[in-house]
Amino acid sequence: MSYITIKDVHKRFVRRGQWTEALSNIQLDIEKGSFVSFIGPSGCGKSTLLRIVGGLMEAEEGEIAIGGKSPQELLKAKQFGFVPQSPALFPWRTVLQNMNIPFEVNRQKVFNSEEQGDPISLLKAVGLGDFVHAYPKELSGGMKQRVGIARAFATGAPILLMDEPFSALDEITKEVLMHQLKQIWEEHKKTVLFVTHNIHEAVYLSDKVVVMSARPGRVSRVIDINLERPRDEAVIGTPIFNDYITELRESLRERWG
């Protein structure tokens, strides 16, 4: 059953006085509670697509329905948990106060309390139990990004939009965060749209990987990742895992020429 339905979506930008097609004829179905990664070269429009699904941008053509509603309706009802590339923490607020931002704004719309996570235990789950009252300047880049992720899971928003949350981090931190994200996600089972540059991340985390190509941005392949859930680190390096890596790498290479 499709939860997010993307149909015939086109998006154009004016670049150097000319219309450029950022997204061309996007078709996609995403199931509720699944983890979907978007991977592709820079300029393939994956971040743009994420923002269109999240109601932050509008497409010129096409239709997006999420449980029968438009992205704008869901945006107004605070149904998205957004995790941008830079962690979007307010420096004058402590970690816990930053976790509370979603509850303080747009207050007439309340989150589904059944889907909410406890902020403190989520912070503990990402290893920040001792930093609840710390200010962002006291945290490393990886720690800040963890707060952003914990915040998204704490709100009770059913759809989480993550725009390359790990791309500015070093390899080791990236690895740790990847496992923590998978752990939290398996507990909370939100629908996650995850934009990434990293093949390894995409395979390990996802139920479905959407491969995109650039100029114009389009979906070139959708690969289902049929690895068992719950997953653990033991799956990394197994033949089936490596097959997915190879498949993904080849479909990316085809598009890059």
Partner: protein, 265 residues
């Protein structure tokens, strides 16, 4: 663990206090000592340059004479500062929200800023008389511009990513302003407030010098006419002291509010 960090911060605090109070104080002591020695040994006449000891003696023996003048100048400067900065903040909000209004209003503000305030002050005296009002007006005008520019810049310099995050929660314009733009621009606002508060003292004095019967600016003018150099210097010292104390008062408030900001330390 906790105890040791406490002692460390205590030690740092003592060292900071020594650095920020004792060292400048020492410089002033040396400066005044040199001044005193030069006046005494080179036999400088008191009508040219009185010795610091004479100035301080005058200050302490006739302090009751200075007190009302301090009060008047302080009052004019403070009221002018509050009016000027509050209006500038309103202007900053308006200009940061609309480029059109910025283009319309900014030239007027720039014109008011580049016109030397010294030539406008006598005009206010003619219009509004010898009372405190024209001085307050000069102080307000002089402290308006730095706050206007800094608040406009501050309200605009919102982090794009934070702004997008607020939009993803469908935050209203007001929520974005009060929860994001305003707290984010506090470093800009405080840095302007430090400039404005010392400017407002200058404004009050400039107002007083173009016609007044009270205030430290008036004391300077009158004592200059009578060559009462000790009195003139005493008033100058008091004005300098007022500027220092007010700037530091802003700094104290800033430190409380901006613990999260690096320049707040």
């Amino acid at each position: 663990m906790e105890k040791s960090t406490e002692t460390v911060t205590w030690g740092v605090r003592v060292r900071n206090a020594t650095g920020s109070v004792m060292l400048p104080l020492m410089t002033f002591v040396i400066l005044f000592a040199a001044w005193e020695l030069i006046v005494r040994f080179m036999d400088v006449q008191a009508v040219i340059l009185p010795a610091p000891s004479v100035i301080f003696a005058e200050l302490f023996t006739s302090f009751s004479f200075y007190l009302p003048h301090i009060g008047v100048t302080f009052y004019e400067a403070m009221v002018g500062f509050v009016i000027g900065t509050v209006l500038a903040l309103i202007g900053g909000v308006v200009m940061s929200q609309s480029r059109l209004l910025e283009r319309m209003l900014l030239p007027v503000a720039v014109l008011a800023h580049v016109t030397p305030i010294v030539v406008i002050a006598p005009l206010f005296m003619i219009w509004f008389g010898f009372g405190t009002f024209p001085k307050i007006l000069v102080a307000a005008i002089i402290s308006f511009f730095p706050m206007l520019i800094n608040s406009t810049t501050g309200f605009r310099s919102v982090d794009e990513s934070n702004l997008e995050y607020m939009r993803s929660l469908h935050a209203s314009r007001w929520e974005i302003f009060f929860k994001l733009s305003l707290p984010g621009s506090l470093p800009f606002l405080f840095s302007a407030a430090r400039t404005c508060i010392s400017m407002s003292v200058i404004g009050a004095v400039v107002g007083e010098m173009s016609g007044a019967s009270k205030g430290l600016g008036n004391v300077v003018m009158v004592s200059a006419n009578y060559l009462q150099m000790d009195r003139m210097f005493a008033a100058i010292f008091l004005l300098a002291l007022m500027g220092i104390l007010l700037t530091n008062a802003v700094r104290v408030v800033e430190k409380r509010f901006l613990a999260w900001h690096s320049s707040g330390h």
